[in-house]
Structure formats: C-alpha cells, structure tokens
Amino acid sequence: MMNESTEELLATLEQVTGVDAPEDASEEVAMLRESWLAFGQLLDATDEEPPQPVVQPRSVRRAGLPVRFIAALAASLLIAFGAWTFLNRGSNSNNPVVAPTELRVPVPATEDVAEVEKPSESMEIVDEFAWEDSFDENLAATSQAIRSAQAGWSGSNRRYSVLLDQFEQFDEELSDGSL
C-alpha cells in the first residue's frame, strides 16, 4: 500500500519525467522538469552507437561441427593407418630396423671420480629399445640369419668379381692387341 506522500510524489515525478509537457504544472514540477530536460539534453548529446557485439550464434557454431568432426575422423584414420603400417613393417619386413645403441658408462658405487673417467674397462652396450620376450629373440635370430645370408651373398659376389676381373683383363688384352 502506498501512503499519501508517496502517491503524491509518484504523480509529480511522472509528470516531470513524462514524454509530454505537463499542463498546468506546479512550480515544483516546472523546476524539476527543467532539470530533467537539461539532463536529457546532455545524455542525448553524448549518446553514441556502441560497437557491434561479437556474438557467435549457436547456429554458426553448429555449422562448424561437421568440419571439425571430419577433421578429427581424418586425423584418427591417419594415426591408425600409421600405426598399422609401423606394426606391419616391424613384423613382416626383411630389413629389420636396427635399434640405435648407446654407450653408457655405469656409475660406480664408490665416489672415486677418477674411476668414472676411465670408461674403457667397464663400458657395456645398452640397447635402450631392447626388451625381453620371444619376439625379441625372434628378431635377433632373423637378424643373424640375414647377416649370414648377406655374408653368403658377399662370398658369391666375390667369386663373380674374380670372373669379372678376368673378363676385364681379357678385354684389355684384346684391345691392346697383345692377345
């Protein structure tokens, strides 16, 4: 419930701040209206259009979804293909990848630094990619087999080389006319 003074003040201020100029305005209403209009003029003089808001509607974001989905799918397929190729090559290839080896110096239990600086006696080859399972053994066996096959090939190759040398010698003698 509004009391009488509040009701009266409300009526006055509605007249003061109304769009239309009040008719038969009291002295107070006229005075306050003058302030109100001056205030309004200042606000109008300084009003500016705001910059356009940067709002990305959800519809736009939804439109971008299939593109992202396709990109993610393509990336997944690419990764899967890469992994499959790598695994397949590792198990079927006749040219096994030689794991890089690294020379490491074991740190002695003693604090004698001089010992550490003499690595020749205690160096060992550590293959950091090596693991202990049957596959590793198979790989080592395959590698050895390939190496022996290569050695065999080198032997036969050497025989062929001798033959080729003889042919070359024969060719030279023929061209010299010494034959």
């Binding site: 003061v16 606000l43 003089a45 500016e48 259009e49 808001p53």
Partner: protein, 174 residues
C-alpha cells in the same frame, strides 16, 4: 519445425534489440561508469548475456527494460569485483580500470564539452540517484519497476529521483 528456426528467430530478435536499444544500453552504462571503453566493454557483455538468457526471456516487460536490468547488474558486479568495498559514488573507474585506448578522433570539441558537462552533472549525483535517473531516461520502466531493479522500496526510488533532479539544478544555474 526444425531446431534451426527458433535459433534464427532468436538471432533476428537479438539483432533487432541491438539496433533498437544498443545506444540506450551504452548510454546508460556510459552515464554510470563515465568511461567510454568500459561502457563499450559492458555493452558487449550485456548482449552476450542477453543471448545466453534468451531462453529465459518470457516477453515480460520490454526488451529495453530486460537489457537495462542486465546492464545494471553487470555494473554492480563489476564494481564489486574490482573492489569489494567499492562504492559506485566514489568508484574511480579510472583507478580500477585504466583506459585501454585514447578518445576516438571523432570526438569533437563540442562533444568533448558535452561529455565534460555530463560528467560534472554525474558528479553531483549519488550512485542511486544516477541509477534511478538513467533508468528512467533510457528505459520505459515505471518507478515501481525501477525500485524493483534497485531492490529498494518505491518511496526510496522516488526520493532518489527527486533529490537527483534538485542536485542537477546546479548545472542549470551555472
């Protein structure tokens, strides 16, 4: 009806709101914070919030009142965030938020004078008087709605308005 249609309708409505009420929202904010850059920043935020809250907008009141209520709430929140004991009267937005850009070249001499006059006028008012007068000027809210927005009794809102107008007499007499 597809799901795109309501979104398109919302987008259209928000665009319309911006065209119709963007300047009023910006003017209200500029009057409260007296800083163009801060006013622009919060105006962006108002429309962003309006977009987020579009599902809750039930055509109650007018769009301008809806937007100005968001604007008013954002200013209060921002003032509190900057300093818990921050009073809008003594707010010192300049200290709280240093300007990130110089005035635009379009701001001419006359406009600059108007701004200074407006700032002087705003200095004469308390934050509550400022809020009541600016809401009354920029929105089509009734005094009862303004009181509700300020979370105060109607008599208090009316008193703020009257005292504010009396304080503004000074700029007219000068």
């Amino acid at each position: 009806m597809t799901a795109v249609e309501p979104i398109a309708a919302d987008t259209e409505r928000l665009t319309h709101w911006f065209d119709q009420h963007g300047a009023a929202v910006r003017g209200y904010l500029r009057g409260l914070v007296r800083r163009d850059d801060v006013a622009d920043d919060i105006t962006q935020d108002v429309f962003r919030r309006a977009w987020q809250a579009r599902a809750n907008y039930r055509e109650q009141g007018t769009p301008r009142a809806f937007l100005l209520r968001i604007a008013d709430r954002l200013v209060i929140d921002r003032a509190r965030k900057n300093r818990p004991e921050f009073q809008l009267d003594e707010m010192g937005w300049l200290a709280a938020e240093p300007p990130d850009r110089l005035p635009t070249p379009t701001a001419g001499v006359i406009e600059k004078e108007s701004r200074q006059e407006l700032d002087t006028a705003m200095e004469l008012l308390t934050s509550s008087q400022r809020r009541v007068l600016l809401l009354r000027f920029y929105s089509d809210m009734s005094f009862a709605e303004i009181a509700e927005t300020l979370d105060c009794p109607l008599s208090t809102a009316l008193s703020h308005c009257r005292r504010g107008l009396l304080a503004l007499r000074q700029i007219i007499s000068e």
